[in-house]
Assembly symmetry: C2
Homo-oligomer: 343 residues x 2
């Protein structure tokens, strides 16, 4: 394919579409796509065998700007984000779809880099990209590209997760410092000098969820990844879903000093900033320290810590935080959008 | 929700996101979403049981403009298109994901109509929307909305489909007239008066594929739906995939006179225009007439006809058409994009 940028005709379903697929998309995805037939051939559908009798199914679209940022890009994000949704459901990720909407004028080199990065992330997460789709829209109708991935996973037999399993006394475990993804993207977008130091935490966390379930089984009551809306949104949802209060201790939350500094400069609350490689788990009190130890064996969770406790609701479900200076503040569900197009 | 248009904050993952979901998206999808937990609660993942041991998995993004057109809209299209990809793979559609990317400023009423239409289409196709996602991008970054659906289906035991099953003497069966979808969208976009008469053929065709497989079993060798690139692209792919020639007879192709007139006005070749409710099946010679009869029992395929034959390749795989006047012309794989953003 000789064109340096994407053209409308690459989305027409004809010969130019076939060339884009054969000469750019499939080679960039490399070994992750077993055969051309899987993306556009036999039926446009992949046929999967032995996925298991209980299947987790999820989807996310990714609209992050800029497309490439310190620590990742939209391709890596689209793989890790969907792998992580499967992981926190208690599933082992098995197969992903990858659907591209490209803007006319997008540099083919950017597309190649993003897809190579997606393929690398899929390989690291031991998940296959088995089916896909490519559309092209005219210049000005879209910034760069949007990626959608849907994921299939096999439910792990040990997984017994749900709001209804959360009880008083349960502990909240967090796998690492907050805000790195959202702040890395914002620093790049705003041209802040810190950008060179702060990396997105974008990573697949199925190794963490798999290890927790293998070691602690039914003592793991609930898991989520704190993406849009950050830890604040996840804890508010857990409190509402479990109809209980949650108290966290700010002093026990792991920190990344660069992220703390960036949040101060940008005037953002770390609790509400998106993460893309972190796990929040609710576990029984007896297993909490062990949960943190199990997580901390993995590089991406080396700072894992027990950060809070579930309690009876006093006056409607509420999340409170004991602050560094020993005061108390309510942690609200964020209202709207502090950081648009962060994931 | 009081806002008449979508705002960036509706995509933030906070309280406004929750309101959009609870007050607009889930009510519009109605009974198609069993519980709020399926779209954003327990884990963002749906857990499915008994989907079958052989699963078909597919995805498509929909970027059609305008969002609403005679005979359908982007919501109905997003359901039918993905149901059809599963159907032609030989699968019974079981579950869909639905991921929205909305532009700031989109009228909430339009969103509601599109989602209701998607829910109606899903109900008619007996498929459940089980998981979803909503993102919002800033005004000017996207026209209106993009929808991605991914689909899971259970492979039908009778299905034995593949390029390798196509043999010399096999017949090509087409379920109805060509070009209605692409031309209905183009007429609306260009403001042609014909628009009031010409309707998109947008429909789920799993009833057709299911009936063919039930009645003819392994005599059905291959199925596809002629969407982007039209019948010309599908036949070229079949010829290449089967390494054989295909000859079709223009006089046997069912026609819609309004579509023929619209194609003439717009200067388009009906063979290359997108359809969204048509089936192309390759069947053994003995079963061809019966295949057309089986299809014709269904309203959406009342004009089904045998339109061509597979032959040995003489000089590389080639598709030829005997024309109305008895001449012969080569049917080429379309090169680029005749009709951008048609699906």
């Amino acid at each position: 394919m000789n064109e340096p940028v994407i053209q409308l005709a690459h989305g027409g379903g004809g010969q130019m579409s076939a060339e884009l697929l054969a000469e750019v998309i499939l080679p960039a995805l490399g070994g992750e796509v077993p055969a051309r037939e899987l993306m556009r051939g036999l039926t446009d559908s992949a046929v999967l065998e032995h996925v298991g009798s209980r299947i987790a199914f999820t989807t996310d679209s990714y609209v992050v700007q800029p497309l490439e940022f310190p620590g990742g890009d939209i391709g890596k994000l689209a793989i890790c984000g969907t792998v992580n949704d499967l992981a926190v459901a208690g599933a082992a990720p098995r197969a992903l779809s990858l659907a591209l909407v490209l803007a006319e004028g997008l540099a083919v080199d950017v597309l190649r880099r993003v897809l190579r990065s997606a393929a690398d992330a899929a390989r690291e997460a031991s998940v296959s990209i088995v089916t896909g789709d490519t559309k092209v829209v005219e210049r000005g109708a879209l910034d760069g590209m949007v990626i959608n991935t849907a994921g299939l996973g096999e439910m792990l037999p040990q997984a017994r997760l749900g709001f209804e399993r959360i009880g008083e006394g349960d502990r909240i475990v967090l796998s690492g410092p907050l805000g790195e993804h959202g702040l890395a993207v914002m620093c790049r977008r705003e041209g802040l000098g810190l950008a060179s130091e702060l990396q997105s935490d974008c990573a697949a966390i199925h190794v963490l969820t798999g290890a927790l379930l293998a070691e602690l089984g039914a003592d793991v009551h609930f898991m989520r990844d704190p993406t849009r809306g950050g830890l604040a949104a996840i804890l508010a949802e857990i409190a509402q879903g479990a109809r209980r209060d949650i108290e966290i201790d700010q002093r026990s939350i792991p920190t990344n000093p660069t992220a703390v500094a960036a949040a101060e400069i940008l005037g953002l609350d770390l609790l509400t900033v998106a993460n893309e490689g972190k796990l929040v788990a609710v576990v029984s009190a007896d297993s909490a320290d062990r949960a943190a130890q199990v997580l901390a064996k993995h590089g991406i969770a080396s700072q894992a810590a027990v950060i809070g406790t579930v309690a009876a609701a006093r006056d409607g479900p509420l999340v409170e935080m004991v602050t560094h200076v020993g005061g108390r503040r309510v942690v609200q569900m964020p209202y709207g959008e502090e950081l648009p197009r962060i994931c």
